[in-house]
Amino acid sequence: MSAPSVEKGIQFIREQIDAPVASFFSACVHCGLCAEACLFYGQTGDPRYTPINKVEPMRRIWEQEYTLWGRIKSTLGLARKVTEKDFEEWEPLVYDACSLCGRCSLVCPVGNDISGMIRKIREGFSAAGYAPEGLIGATTRAVQIGSPMGVKLPAVQAQIGHLKHDTGLDAPLDQKGAEYMVLLSSMEIMNFPEYLEAVAKIMKQAGKSWTIASKAFEATNSGIQIGTSDIAAELVQRVVDAAEELGVQTVISPECGHAYTAIRWEGPNLIGRPFTFKVKHILEVLDEFREQGLLKTDGMEEAKLTFHDPCQLVRKGGVIKQPRKLLNMVASNFVEMTDHASMNWCCSGGGGVSANERADEIKFKAFRQKKSQLDELQVDTLVTACANCRITLEEGLEEYEMDLPVVGLTEMLADHLVDENEEQG
């Protein structure tokens, strides 16, 4: 452990630069098309929010330290070193005006993964002590308490109690040998308890064994959002330890965006070894059930509805078809947004933005992108599959006085499950 400093931050950025990053900086031709894909630039017109500009300090470090020409320029005193002022100036660009949604990476003509680089540069900023207060708080709580929102086991147990009381269904804790280990995001535990109920119902119908680990129920990984792999690894390790101790086959990541990215893609690389179990998003599991004929539903939603694609799940997670197949089981009037699936727009609250109070103003500005998508469609219901998207959407809709209910997909499916009691009875 050591105190944060600008020098440490630069050191961390040095560490993060690899061959892909070098190839990206070598290939960038300053075409500016990444800005056209970014909702923060699009809704503010501020060129500083151009995605590739957000990683300019990293580019300078790369040029000055990893290229011969840059080294020569440095020796001749022609290079602008990265200083404290740069950290100060770039902090809001790196954290407030970017949700790591990945849309820029998808449109860059030369193939640069810009959002991947922004994720990397956050390592340096957080190590230098230049991360937003809100995220620092969330991360500290996540490590010390076990949840970024400070949710402790008793709260979970309380929800489990409610579940039993309301439905008679059990959410077994620490069940060794269960097939599935379910993770929950704090947001779901606190604001959307319907999710837990939905999962319980579906698991019952599908006849699958599942459990929640008391030592590792939290899905959200604040370490990923603040950009500190050291902490992110610690959080992932908790889940891995629990999963291996319980001997489960699959860990289910809930309706949360970055949680999926954290455990599915970054997880093994953070702890330095492959997992011995599978990791799936709840929608992937549900779609498997659907294919296996284990999901029996009844009735359709008549309301005109559309699906908001959570960035980390769809664009960056590849879970594109599943939500649509599942939605088509229970919705008769499902219309797609014009920019949908991998090209859908971020809710504006991902990647730590929603935990960062300082970013509220710009977040609401950026939300206008989602608003324009909804205005175009004029739907009655908005369905999504991420609790963070859900709360961000709800807050945004309220801010703009739009009357539009937001529903979770798992919840919607569970509502349409054929009641087996009725069947039998």
Partner: protein, 363 residues
């Protein structure tokens, strides 16, 4: 020995009619792009011209220039004019030899000091004290300097005299140089070509005889009237160049159809001469018309311009060798820089100080 007869009297003595003489003057005027109104002036001047003394020095040459100038099918006006300059000294053409020849030269110089025309063909070797070419024990270099001193003007005939020519080609073992590289205090007119076209010489001389001064020259000292246009612009095969129809070999379909010879190395675009208009053998043909690309023989260093059969758009060096050499250096330098990168990155990774939640707040 200057003759007492004027040029006009001489021509009439030889049976050239007034009409024929005027025709020649008109042709010369038009060749030199002079207006028709100049014809009477040319005629009057040539009529009265006293035969100027001409000393012709042949140095490191193949005699091709002399051959060209004297080659004619029938006695032509050009050859008559040539006869009627007082050619007081010429190795190939004079009857005298040995001491008698050198005495003749010295006498002509003395008698016409400051007024004689010096014509030079062949380059002048300067290596080894000029001993690569001597005449009667005198090096070309010394003879040039000596004779040039009393000349009114110097005509450097052929590319060797004008720019060094063949002997000047790499590696130039004889240290061959052109007239203008060695003499700087006399008016010099370059009439290059390997060899030059006969009518070009006679046109230049006619101009000199008429006006007493040399014609308008370009940046390389060549008369604009004959060297002001490049072959490419006057070439009858130009439409094929425009259409991109090139002969690829000397006997393919394109060659048989008379397509552009650019790909076979034609230097027409960068060569300035009268071949495409005046042509050779009194207007019969010129190299391109015969199916061979122009070799650029009236240009300096045409022997070292990358080869007669390599197109102008092709670099002359050994690209393969350059590529391999540069690649070798590039790989070596790259490996070195790469190692440096790896080391710096490893140092950064090693210096990693783990971040805990207590390290996130800056003071």
């Amino acid at each position: 020995m200057t003759d007492e007869l004027t040029l006009g009297e001489r021509l009439r003595q030889r049976g050239v009619s007034r009409r024929g003489f005027l025709k020649f003057c008109a042709a010369t005027a038009s060749m030199m792009a002079l207006p028709p109104s100049m014809v009477p002036a040319i005629a009057a001047a040539l009529e009265k011209a006293r035969r100027p003394s001409v000393i012709w020095l042949s140095f490191q040459e193949c005699t091709g220039c002399t051959e060209s100038l004297t080659r004619s099918h029938a006695p032509t006006i050009e050859s008559l004019i040539f006869d009627h300059i007082s050619l007081d000294y010429h190795h190939t053409l004079q009857a005298a030899a040995g001491d008698a020849a050198e005495h003749a030269r010295e006498a002509a110089m003395q008698e016409n000091w400051g007024k004689y025309l010096l014509v030079v063909d062949g380059s002048i070797p300067t290596a080894e004290n000029g001993n690569y070419s001597t005449i009667a024990g005198i090096s070309n270099l010394d003879m040039l300097k000596e004779v040039a001193e009393g000349a009114a003007a110097i005509v450097a005939v052929g590319t060797c005299a004008a720019y060094g020519g063949l002997p000047h080609a790499k590696p130039n073992p004889t240290g061959a140089q052109s007239v203008s590289e060695l003499i700087s205090d006399k008016p010099i007119i370059n009439v290059p070509g390997c060899p030059p076209i006969p009518v070009v010489i006679s046109g230049v001389l006619a101009h000199y005889l008429t006006f007493g001064v040399l014609p308008e020259l370009d940046a390389l000292g060549r008369p604009m009237a004959f060297f002001g246009q490049n072959i490419h612009d006057r070439c009858y095969r130009r439409p094929f160049y425009e259409r991109g129809e090139f002969a690829e070999t000397f006997d393919d379909e394109g060659a048989k159809k008379g397509w552009c010879l650019f790909k076979l190395g034609c230097k027409g675009p960068t060569t300035y001469n009268a071949c495409a208009t005046a042509k050779w053998n009194e207007g019969t043909s010129f190299p391109i018309e015969s199916g061979h690309g122009c070799i650029g023989c009236s240009e300096p260093n045409f022997w070292d311009a990358g080869g007669f059969y390599q197109a102008l758009s092709v670099p002359t060096g050994d690209a393969g060798k350059t590529l391999l050499g540069a690649a070798a250096v590039g790989v070596a330098a790259g490996a070195a820089v790469g190692l440096l990168n790896k080391r710096n990155k490893a140092k950064a990774v090693e210096a990693h100080e783990k971040v805990t939640v207590d390290d996130l707040n800056r003071e």
